[in-house]
């Protein structure tokens, strides 16, 4: 079936397109304008902005963490609305089903879950398989497990580490590697409560710096396209911008992605010893093109923090809102789930909110800064439209600023920043840049051959309203959303990488599991027979 969208303003940074034009697609793919054929379906999208489906590079949507949060906070997701459509579980509050529905309605068509402990990969994949419409993928978390730390300590060859990473990506069916507080999660099990870049992981004689650098090099050597996705030390602490700057200095000129950097943009100025250091941080990012960052914007809302940085989460327990939480010392890993509420009247929260926006506005290149709230840590993903509107309007930011405590405004540069994001920059940040960051060849753009994942928004002065309810969303060429409502449920794919590696590592790992746990390693592998038939995987290519 040949479909034409005509009269819309096409914004497609990958192909340098920013103007009114027609878009054709057929059999799930975008095609060049066909000569001498009449489309089977045509949509008049005059007065609309047409973009590729958006890609969320970091959102905690599936697995043990988010499921624990659901069970911890039954009050946070009271279900609502009697069934609107004859669709199973379309009314559950905070379910896998809702995740797909709500993302699709905003024009998102690919979302990456960024923190899955290898031993819990199957659980995460079961949830991902249950999320309708969108494509998805997950990052596997390495950097605190004895096997790897011992290999680094014992000076094993990079090749064997590359093989280990390959085997783990294969077993967990992941799209990349995340590292959380390198060495710090293990250190926490040994009763260490603060762990910085040059602190040593006890028993391994390696600093956090050394661990992340070796892992970063090895990830590059695997030839997977997504660089090491790093959650740095000292998240949330006053003055932690120093850690972030030092981490960038330690990045060896190699690709490195720094996660939710707003949580690291803090200085120690002012009477509370807490200030925004976003300007200094942004300057550093601008000067280091090997580094990419996502923001992790805070919005004023009740949220829950979900993090593999169990040390940080433990330290957050006393400040929980409400005061409760789950602290999980997992196999070679960790997880903490602590509820919180960001309040506009709270000095610290207001600084966090401002620091995030400063980062967005002060990093020059939208290919280098990614649009996230670290859902649900900074804000639920449902706040994206409001955040986009803030980026696009200095007036809207000023309205927010008027509500902030006075002493906050003295400790941020936000009021002075008049930059307003254009649609082209928004599309760069949410489509073109994620495409590059994960090495996607088939999405994030509207050129011929790309999957027909398309979001169409009606031009409105209220940008939040515009992005909240996409006028049309096509997934693989199927119309799935009309006027902000899902009209058709489809099943997406799970995206993974499969780098080449020497299978000899499998024997070593089998032996390691047998000796340590007395269990077959296969017990932790994600196998086809464990997943529903509807779970379809697609491979993202590696560098050649």
């Amino acid at each position: 079936m040949l479909t034409r969208l005509y009269g819309g303003h096409i914004v497609d940074p990958v192909n340098g397109v920013d103007g009114v034009g027609d878009l054709y697609f057929e059999d799930g793919r975008i095609i060049a304008p066909p000569v001498g054929r009449t489309p089977d379906v045509e949509h008049d999208v005059f007065g609309h902005v047409v973009m590729a489906g958006a890609i969320d590079i970091h959102s905690h949507i599936a697995g043990g963490g988010v499921n624990t949060a659901r069970l911890l906070l039954p009050e946070a997701h009271r279900a609502h609305r009697p069934r609107p459509a004859n669709t199973p579980l379309s009314t559950a509050g905070w379910s896998t089903f809702e995740t797909g529905r709500l993302y699709a309605q905003m024009g998102y068509t690919t979302v990456i879950e960024p923190a899955v402990s290898p031993h819990h990969a199957l659980h995460a994949h079961l949830e991902l398989a249950d999320i309708p419409i969108i494509d998805k993928g997950l990052l596997t978390v390495l950097g605190n497990e004895d096997f790897l730390l011992s290999a680094f300590r014992d000076g094993e060859s990079q090749d064997s580490v590359v093989d280990y990473i390959g085997a783990t990506l294969e077993a967990t069916r992941a799209i990349g590697v995340k590292c959380v507080n390198a060495g710090g999660v293990d250190a926490f099990k040994q009763n260490i409560r603060h762990f910085s870049l040059d602190d040593e992981a006890p028993g391994y004689g390696l600093t956090s710096r050394q661990i992340f650098q070796k892992l970063q090099q090895a990830v590059v050597a695997t030839k997977i396209r997504h660089p090491l996705h790093l959650h740095m030390n000292n998240l949330g602490l006053p003055g932690n911008v120093e850690t972030a700057l030092a981490t960038i200095d330690a990045s060896q000129g190699l690709p490195l992605h720094l996660a939710h950097v707003q949580f690291y943009a803090y200085g120690t100025e002012g009477k509370n010893g807490f200030s925004s250091a976003a300007a200094q941080f942004a300057e550093k990012i601008n000067a280091n093109k090997n580094v990419t960052v996502d923001v992790g914007q805070v919005m004023f809302a009740d949220i829950v923090t979900i993090s593999s940085d169990v040390m940080k989460q433990f330290n957050s327990l006393p400040g929980g809102r409400p005061k409760k939480g789950v602290i999980f010392d997992g196999d070679s890993n960790g997880l903490g789930v602590v509820p919180y509420s960001y309040r506009v009247s709270d000095f610290f929260n207001a600084v966090q909110w401002a620091a995030g926006l400063e980062l967005f506005l002060l990093v020059d290149d939208p290919m280098q800064v990614f649009f996230t709230t670290d859902h649900p840590n900074g804000a639920p993903f449902t706040t994206y439209p409001e955040v986009l509107a803030l980026l696009m309007s200095a007036d809207k930011r000023a309205q927010y600023c008027a509500r902030l405590p006075d002493d906050v405004l003295e400790l941020t540069n936000l009021p002075a920043l008049k930059r307003e994001y254009s649609f082209y920059e928004i599309a760069t940040m949410t489509r073109a840049a994620p495409r590059k960051l994960y090495g996607f060849e088939d999405r994030g753009q509207l050129g011929a051959g790309a999957v027909a994942d398309i979001a169409v928004y009606e031009l409105q002065t209220d940008k939040a309203a515009m992005f909240r309810n996409a006028a049309y969303v096509f997934k693989d060429g199927n119309l799935v959303v009309r006027d902000g409502k899902v009209t058709h449920y489809t099943k997406g794919r799970t995206l993974r990488v499969r780098p080449e590696y020497d299978r000899a590592i499998d024997d070593r790992l089998d032996k390691y599991y047998d000796e340590l746990y007395g269990l077959p390693r296969a017990l932790f592998e994600v196998q086809d027979a464990a997943l529903p038939a509807t779970a379809v995987f697609a491979e993202v290519p590696c560098h050649s």
Binding site: A62, G64, V66, N67, R70, L71, L72, L73, P74, H77, A79, R81, P82, R83, N86, P88, L89, T91, A92, G93, W94, S95, T96, F97, H119, H120, L122, H123, L126, E127, D130, D146, F188, K189, Q190, N191, P202, G203, F314, L317, G320, K324, G325, V326, I327, F328, D329, G330, D331, S332, L516, Y517, G518, L519, L523, F524, Q527, A529, A530, P532
Partner: protein
């Protein structure tokens, strides 16, 4: 082995008499579809079975509960009100230099517990040391673990809450109401807990109540003020933890959730299976107990009941459809106690029996058209 009796060959019975599978599914669909508020209970099933069952409850606007919800909710109540520290049995195996075993009957709830925790072996990570094992409230003669010197703190079932409260008090340096001799013994245990490097408390919610788990977790929170201490919960029977997780991601809630108003509502009292049946609020039930054929908890249901269970578990009354045992007769995903994660169990004895999900699909396929899907 050759089965000769037609009875034994049959996969379905009605009031104890063999019927064809086709008739059984037809009948089951009729019963469930005719009900105003059907109950899907037992839920002794693998993840795929639980998914099918929960979708069925939603489609019929009924409610669902698991046969061991009481145990899951015992821990969950503590999670919701105060929070919890937990680890995996394998992390305890490699790292825990002290194990505090709480309550009696642990090997009944988890037969492989001591093999998995490897308490007789040295720790591997965080330093190699012998382990210290303290058991509070074992039954007489129960506190024996091969190769392990077990210290015991005696407590009958009735005394256990008081002893746990006193132990927590002594960990925090607060006075107790116990005798000087008993307090002295607890002080020694409290000292041991405080000097553990990475201690774990092991308990089964099936043997405790929420107050006890909360006390234990309160103590663990205090211990984490100076050292590392966490917990190893032993989950409920018949796949309770896997069903709990599945229910959470599908509906946002644990079992004991109803769809009567067209959206999921969780209420541990209102949607308890036994109460729903005995009060007459549920007017038909699907009872699923695929692991071992455990019977329903209610007395004299005079509502129609459809049972899914292993072949040996045919009911004298009502409709029975045999299903395979998950992970035994068919490949199944369940939450494994030994890894504290979802795992695939390969069938050890494949059988020509439907899976729970297949049986539910066969029933659902026979609903008449007017029921939304």
């Amino acid at each position: 082995m050759v089965e000769t009796s037609v009875e034994a060959m049959s996969n379905a019975t009605l009031d104890g008499k063999s019927i064809s599978s086709e008739d059984a599914y037809e009948q089951a669909a009729k019963i469930l579809q005719a009900a105003n508020f059907p109950l899907v209970a037992g839920l002794g099933a693998d993840v795929a079975g639980a998914q099918a069952a929960i979708l069925l409850a939603e489609r019929l606007r009924g409610a669902f509960d698991h046969l061991a919800s009481r145990d899951s909710l015992t821990d969950l109540e503590v999670v919701r009100s105060a929070g919890i520290f937990v680890t995996t049995p394998n992390e305890a195996r490699v790292r825990a230099d002290l194990a505090l075993l709480v309550g009696s009957g642990l090997t009944g709830y988890w037969p492989a517990i001591f093999e998995r925790l490897a308490l007789d072996k040295e720790t591997v990570h965080g330093g190699k040391t012998k382990r210290r094992v303290i058991w509070v409230g074992p039954k007489r003669g129960e506190a024996k673990i091969e190769g392990v010197e077990v210290e015991t703190i005696p407590a009958t079932e009735a005394e256990l809450p008081g002893v746990l409260a006193a132990l927590r008090a002594r960990v925090g340096g607060r006075p107790t109401a116990l005798s000087a001799a008993a307090t002295k013994k607890l002080d020694a245990a409290a000292e041991a807990l405080k000097s553990a490097r990475f201690g774990v408390a092991v308990w089964a919610a099936a043997g405790l109540d929420s107050l006890m788990v909360e006390m234990l977790q309160g103590m663990i929170t205090e211990l984490n003020g100076t050292t590392r201490f966490t917990g190893v919960p032993i989950g409920g029977r018949s796949g309770a933890t896997g069903v709990l997780q599945t229910s959470a991601w599908m509906t946002g809630f644990p079992p004991r959730t109803g769809f009567g108003r067209g959206y999921p509502e969780h209420d541990a009292w209102r949607f308890e299976a036994r109460r729903l049946v005995e009060s007459g609020e549920a007017d038909a039930a699907l009872w699923i107990s695929a692991y071992d054929g455990e019977p329903p908890p209610w007395e004299d249901a005079d509502i129609p009941v459809v049972t899914l269970g292993p072949p040996g578990a045919a009911t004298k009354r009502g409709l029975f459809i045999a299903v395979g045992k998950p992970g035994e007769n068919y490949d199944a995903v369940e939450f494994a106690q030994e890894t504290s994660s979802m795992v695939l169990r390969r069938a050890k004895a494949p059988a020509e029996l439907p899976t729970v999900a297949e049986a539910i699909a066969a029933i659902s396929a026979r609903f008449s058209e007017d029921l939304p899907c």
